[in-house]
Structures are given as structure tokens and as C-alpha cells.
């Protein structure tokens, strides 16, 4: 018939049909893997899974003990960066909580009282709470922050905790995380009035 495609049944030899040869071949494959991996495990010559780009061998990562290094730009648990005098950089502008699609950031803004050394910054976060259970780690808060106060460069992977309340990170907790480099401040070059590196006049001395 014209236009009919005839698909031929593949020819099978007796060796194929008796299964024996094919099963032996299959056993060969599995045995090869078994002996190779078993040997590596017993002799301790298993390649380091955390370092190698893995192609062959046991690929299991013994997670809490062994960890793959995260890329530099991995979005980990948030931290609040500090000024050189140790207080949070955050000016409580609420940009992050506005940008947050999961609405997991709560900030209570306040004003530095009269006579406070940081009065020039005017506004600060009295409370800064992130619900890490709600957070989807999208990084929008970091993008939104105009003063580089919130960063996700801690390299800490948010893991399970025993208590839901433990996931509510307050300001002190967020300020306690260093960056991957162990830095509590920010590498951003922006300097604020009052910082030692600031070239110009401070707001207090302004007029």
C-alpha cells in the first residue's frame, strides 16, 4: 500500500530470547558499578563529592557533614549590615517590606532622639522582623534596599528548626550573622554622612 510505513519487528536471536546472555550482560553492568563503588568505599578512595563535578562513583552527599559550597551569589539567610559604630544601617524606609512578595518583613520605624549621635540619620528600625518561614528567598528586599542594609550574602542555608517561633528572626538575630567573608558591614562603597570615610560635611555640621 502506498504511503504505508511498515515497521519491522526487530529480529531477535536465540541468545536474546533465552534471556541468559542479556541478563549476564546486565549483571555485568551492575557488578561493575558495585565493585567499583564498593572498592572505593572500602579503601576510602571515593572522590570528594563536594569538590568534584561528579560523573561517576557514589554521588551521595552526607549532607549535614558534607556540604557543597554555595556560589558566591547564593541567597542565604538575611543579615542586617552594620555601620562602623555597630548600629544597623537600616533606615526603616519599608522599601523591602513593600517589595516583599511574601510579606514576611515587619518593620517598626522610629526616630533617633534629640542628641543621639546618629540623629543625622533621622530614622531607624525600632523593630525589624523577618519571618523566615514565609520568606521565599527571592532577594527583592536586597534589590529594594537603598542603603544596602539588608543582604543575603551570609551563605547560610535556612534549615529546619524545632520551633516555629525560632524562624521569626528579630533585629538582633539578623545583625548577628556575618557575610560569607565574616564581615558585619557592607562592602558597598556608599558612605553615609557620619561614616569616617565620608568626604563631605556631616548633616549636623551642615549650616
Amino acid at each position: 500500500m502506498a504511503g504505508t510505513i511498515v515497521i519491522k519487528k526487530p529480529k531477535r536471536t536465540l541468545a536474546d530470547q533465552s534471556y541468559v546472555v542479556e541478563i549476564t550482560k546486565g549483571l555485568g553492568v551492575t557488578l561493575k558499578h558495585f565493585f567499583k563503588n564498593f572498592g572505593q568505599m572500602v579503601t576510602g578512595t571515593r572522590p570528594d563529592v563536594t569538590k568534584f563535578n561528579y560523573e561517576d562513583g557514589v554521588a551521595t552527599l552526607q549532607y549535614p557533614e558534607e556540604k557543597k559550597p554555595y556560589p558566591r551569589r547564593f541567597r542565604g539567610v538575611h543579615r542586617l549590615t552594620k555601620r562602623s559604630n555597630g548600629e544597623a544601617r537600616c533606615t526603616a524606609c519599608l522599601m523591602c517590606s513593600t517589595a516583599c512578595p511574601a510579606q514576611c518583613i515587619f518593620i517598626k520605624p522610629g526616630e533617633y532622639p534629640e542628641g543621639h549621635p546618629s540623629r543625622g540619620h533621622e530614622r531607624y528600625a525600632v523593630e525589624f522582623v523577618i519571618d523566615e518561614l514565609r520568606c521565599i528567598f527571592c532577594g527583592f528586599c536586597v534589590e529594594a534596599c537603598p542603603v544596602d542594609a539588608i543582604r543575603m550574602d551570609t551563605g547560610i542555608h535556612m534549615t529546619a528548626l524545632d520551633n516555629r517561633a525560632d524562624f521569626i528572626f528579630d533585629k538582633e538575630k539578623l545583625m548577628s550573622f556575618p557575610s560569607q567573608d565574616g564581615d558585619f558591614e557592607t562592602s558597598n562603597t556608599r558612605v553615609e554622612p557620619g561614616d569616617k570615610a565620608h568626604h563631605g560635611i556631616t548633616r549636623e555640621q551642615g549650616h
Binding site: T98, P109, V147
Partner: protein, 539 residues
């Protein structure tokens, strides 16, 4: 009506209107800072410059300028029209004005913007104006480039306290002098002035004065930038998280039109701001009115009481309606000039059905003034009378005289315009009070208290001293065991066997309209973003 052309569009104007005002009336905005429809013209910000097209046989006013010529690689002499401030030029019949359509205007606006932002600290993240700031708006629409000045901007005092309510930031100020003009023209109390010029200018309080009195928070509202902020809203939240709801000030018989700005996520009111209404308050409000949102939270009654015992609201309604039907004939109903016309209408209708005598009361008078504050502290005395369909109603003093003829009182609102001690004489009678706050004359003597909504938690209508009816809308969700006022009253009436027939708000509005009370609903809600409901500044 006479018209002129603005960007090819016919704009009608009244005699004496400036171009910007006529356009503003038509909903066409010409960018401006210092001009305000309720204030005199200063023409100092130069933002509203427009190009006037010369008429036939007229010569245009032109300026010689140097323009870069790419082909000659040199500047060549050219001419451009002299732009005019639209806030100062009176509109004339047949005039042709180019605003958006003129490249010279666009360049002028861009330059003015860049100039105004030259020494601006650009601290929008900590500025409470951001979100409703004209500098931000016009930056986006007119400038959209970074400034070319690379020097450290000029620094000036920040966070200067002008008084108990107003804080001044000189760095953000653009010297439009709106606040100074408000003090002189509206408040008629010259509290503010300006000193120095150029980039050293600063707004200062008049010698020996601070910004105080009844009209201070208005200054924040006329400031187009973040220079003036109120201590009440300062550093509390962000404008874009608020949603404005059309409302009416419950503070006095003037009934200023306003918005209640609410954070819907927290169901919390954060501020009031004036809403434009020519017949009532134009653009202004007093401090007490601006702070009236605080009434929603202070001292609220959140659960019902029966014989001073806490009870569920539903039980209290049953108990109260049983009392009303039991004491039929020896019953008095006290209307409230504090409550909405709709609630008074139900109460009055119920009173009629139960054969009860009607009284009206409210808060005692306070000191009024000639600007906005009415000496009657009650926003709806006229509405209460309208609801009762009476020219006048006796007050509480009359009720006290006839006290022996009543066994039971149904009181709307907790306020009475007599001394609280006088009301003690009524103790011993069955008194049912529908109240919002514990601090009230009636709550002290009531046997049964039903918690009801304040004005911001329900819909309603206030009729002010001039007879202008204004509708206000629900801004907040009632909390606790609080009942919606008019719903509680309809339930009470039904339980007492005096069904008023009112089931929905539209029924009430229809009944009121049939009495000649056309609810004046604001046609367009300027001041609220059409899709998000967030506050937007218009003037």
C-alpha cells in the same frame, strides 16, 4: 462660557481665572509647586511655565539664545519664545496656550526640576512625603535624568521642631512659600516667614512664635514636598501602604470633607487629610479634625454589658429589645447629633412605632472660630432633626424634667450636652445605650450598653450646620464584638416588635431622599489613586 485652547483642547474659564486654575477645574494639570487653588499666586517656582501662541497681528515675545549646531560644530544664534507662568496669566477668550505640546516648555520644566533638586538631599527612603511628593512625581514625568552637579549638596538644618505638631526639614524645602501664605491668608496668623535667599533660604517661625493654634497640621498638607512633616505621621509608615477612604470629619458642625487614610493590612487608621469641598471646607481642616481618627482607638467599648456584666452583643440586643417592648408607652428615645442620619432615622422610626417621646442630645458646645470650627461640636444635629422629621426636638434637660413619666430610655450615643452629674438622677431606670466610648455621660448610668461602630467603621451621612449633606464611607473593619450601628438598631427595633422595614443602607438612603435630603456624594474622588486607592496629591 468663554474658552481658551490648551494644547488644542478647549478649556472653559470664568472671568478672572488664571490659565492654571481654569485647567485645574477641568482636570488638566499643569505642573506646579507654589500655586495652590486656595491661595494667592506667588509665581516663584517657575514650574508652571507655558508657551503663549501669539494671536493674529501680534508679535511673539522672543529671546535670543545660542543653540548647538551639529553640522557646523558650533553654537549658532537662535530665538525661542519667552515662557510665561500659567499661574499668573489670566485666561482670555480665544487664547492659545501650549503646555505639553511645547518643546520649550518641556525643557524649561526639566531645567526647573534639576535646579530644585540641585541641593535636595534625595533622602526619599526616610522622607515621609515620598509617595505623594511633587518632586518625585515631576522627576518621573518631566526630568528623568540625573543632576549634573557633582559637588556635595548644600546642607541645612533638618528635623527642626516648629511646634508640637510640625517638623521642618530645610534641605528638602523648595521655598514655594505655600506654608507662609496659608498662615497669612487662611489661618490669618503669620506664624512663618522666610529668611535669606538663593541656596541659603530657610523657613523660620516668626520671632517669639512657634507653630501652634488650631490649624497647624494643614501646613504639612499644603507643603508639596517633604519639608514640613507632622509629628503624628512622621516615621510611622509609608504613604503607599495607605488606602484613602472618603469620609467626613465628625469633629464639629462644619463637617469638613476628608479622607481617612488606612493601612488595610493592619486595619488601622494612620491619618486624616482634607478633601476638597467648595461648599464646606475648600481645602482646609483644623488639627482636631485631622486627629479625629484617634477616636477609633481611644477608650473604645468593645463588648456589650448587661447590668454592668460583660455579655455577648447578640444577648445584649435580645435583652434590650425585650426591655423596649416591655416598657412600651413609658419609653423615651434620645437621638444623637453625633451619630449618622441613617441611625437617627431608624431610632426615630422605631420611637414612633413604640409610641415613645423623642429627644436629641450630643456633645456640649465648644469654642468655635470664624475659619472652620463651628461652636457646635456635633457633626449631625441637623441630620438628627431631619431624621425625626421635626423642626426642633427637646434636649436632655427637658427629659430630666419629665423623668418620672418614663421607665425606660433608649439612648443613641454616649454623649449628653448636660453635666454628667445631672444624668445621675435618671439612675434606677432601665437605660439602654448604644455607645462607642466609655468616657460619656450615658455609659455611666446605663444598665445595658451595646458597643457600636464609630463613624469610620460604617457608612453614613452627616448634615452640617449649613444643611449640606455629605456621605462618608466605611474605612475600617469593626473589631471586637462591635455592632454596626444601624444594623444594631434595626435588630433592636425588630426584637421590640417595631420593625422599621429598613433592611439595607439603600432603603435608608431612599427614605432620607424622600424627605428632601439629597446625599451629596463627591462626584470624583481626587486624592485617591483610581486603581490602588493610595493617596495622591492633587494641588
Amino acid at each position: 462660557m468663554a474658552t481658551f485652547k490648551l494644547d488644542g483642547k478647549e478649556i472653559a474659564f470664568e472671568q478672572g481665572d488664571t490659565i492654571i486654575k481654569a485647567a485645574w477645574r477641568q482636570g488638566v494639570e499643569i505642573p506646579h509647586y507654589c500655586w495652590h487653588p486656595g491661595l494667592s499666586v506667588a509665581a516663584n517656582c517657575r514650574m508652571c511655565l507655558v508657551e503663549l501662541v501669539p494671536g493674529a497681528n501680534q508679535r511673539a515675545m522672543m529671546l535670543d539664545v545660542l543653540v548647538w549646531d551639529e553640522s557646523k560644530k558650533d553654537y549658532v544664534v537662535s530665538r525661542k519664545p519667552k515662557l510665561q507662568p500659567s499661574c499668573q496669566i489670566s485666561a482670555a477668550e480665544g487664547m492659545e496656550v501650549k503646555s505639553e505640546s511645547s518643546e520649550h516648555v518641556a525643557l524649561a520644566r526639566k531645567s526647573v526640576q534639576e535646579f530644585l533638586l540641585l541641593n535636595h538631599p534625595v533622602d526619599c527612603p526616610i522622607c515621609d512625603q515620598s509617595g505623594e511628593c511633587k518632586l518625585q512625581d515631576y522627576y518621573m514625568t518631566e526630568q528623568a535624568t540625573s543632576k549634573r552637579m557633582r559637588d556635595e549638596p548644600n546642607h541645612k538644618p533638618k528635623g527642626v521642631s516648629f511646634g508640637p505638631t510640625i517638623v521642618y526639614d530645610a534641605e528638602r524645602c523648595i521655598a514655594c512659600t505655600r506654608c507662609i501664605r496659608v498662615c497669612e491668608e487662611v489661618i490669618q496668623d503669620p506664624m512663618l516667614d522666610m529668611r535669606e535667599r538663593g541656596n541659603l533660604f530657610e523657613i523660620i517661625t516668626s520671632p517669639g512664635r512657634q507653630v501652634d493654634g488650631h490649624y497647624t497640621m494643614m501646613l504639612e498638607w499644603v507643603c508639596p514636598v517633604g519639608a514640613l512633616t507632622t509629628s503624628h505621621w512622621r516615621h510611622k509608615g509609608r504613604v503607599w501602604l495607605l488606602r484613602g477612604t472618603q469620609s467626613v470629619c465628625p469633629g464639629c458642625a462644619t463637617g469638613c470633607a476628608m479622607f481617612v487614610d488606612v493601612d488595610p493590612r493592619e486595619n488601622t487608621a494612620f491619618r486624616n487629610r482634607p478633601r476638597e469641598n467648595d461648599q464646606v471646607n475648600q481645602f482646609w481642616m483644623c488639627d482636631d479634625g485631622m486627629l479625629s481618627y484617634e477616636r477609633v482607638y481611644k477608650d473604645r467599648i468593645l463588648s456589650a454589658t448587661i447590668a454592668s456584666e460583660r455579655a455577648k452583643s447578640a444577648d445584649a440586643i435580645r435583652h434590650a429589645s425585650a426591655l423596649l417592648s416591655k416598657h412600651k408607652g413609658r419609653l423615651a428615645v434620645v437621638l444623637s447629633a453625633q451619630r449618622s442620619t441613617e441611625e437617627n432615622l431608624i431610632a426615630a422610626t422605631m420611637a414612633k412605632a413604640l409610641g415613645a417621646d423623642l429627644y436629641v442630645t450630643g456633645k456640649a458646645a465648644w469654642d468655635g472660630d470664624k475659619i472652620l470650627r463651628n461652636s457646635d461640636q456635633n457633626p449631625n444635629r441637623a441630620g438628627a432633626l431631619k431624621a425625626a422629621d421635626a423642626e426642633s426636638l427637646p434636649g436632655v434637660d427637658a427629659l430630666l424634667k419629665k423623668a418620672s413619666s418614663y421607665d425606660c430610655l433608649l439612648v443613641l450615643g454616649e454623649d449628653a450636652d448636660v453635666a454628667p452629674e445631672a444624668i445621675k438622677a435618671l439612675a434606677g431606670k432601665e437605660i439602654v445605650v448604644l455607645a462607642t466610648h466609655w468616657q460619656g455621660a450615658w455609659t455611666a448610668v446605663a444598665n445595658t450598653v451595646l458597643p457600636i461602630t464609630v463613624w469610620a467603621e460604617t457608612d453614613g451621612t452627616f448634615v452640617n450646620a449649613k444643611g449640606v449633606a455629605q456621605v462618608f464611607k466605611r474605612a475600617l473593619t469593626p473589631t471586637g464584638d462591635v455592632l454596626v450601628g444601624w444594623e444594631a438598631l434595626t435588630k433592636l427595633a425588630k426584637g421590640a416588635g417595631a420593625d422599621t422595614g429598613f433592611q439595607r443602607m439603600v432603603d435608608l438612603r431612599a427614605a432620607l431622599q424622600s424627605r428632601g435630603l439629597e446625599a451629596l456624594v463627591a462626584k470624583k474622588l481626587d486624592g485617591v489613586h483610581p486603581s490602588t486607592g493610595a493617596p495622591v496629591s492633587t494641588v
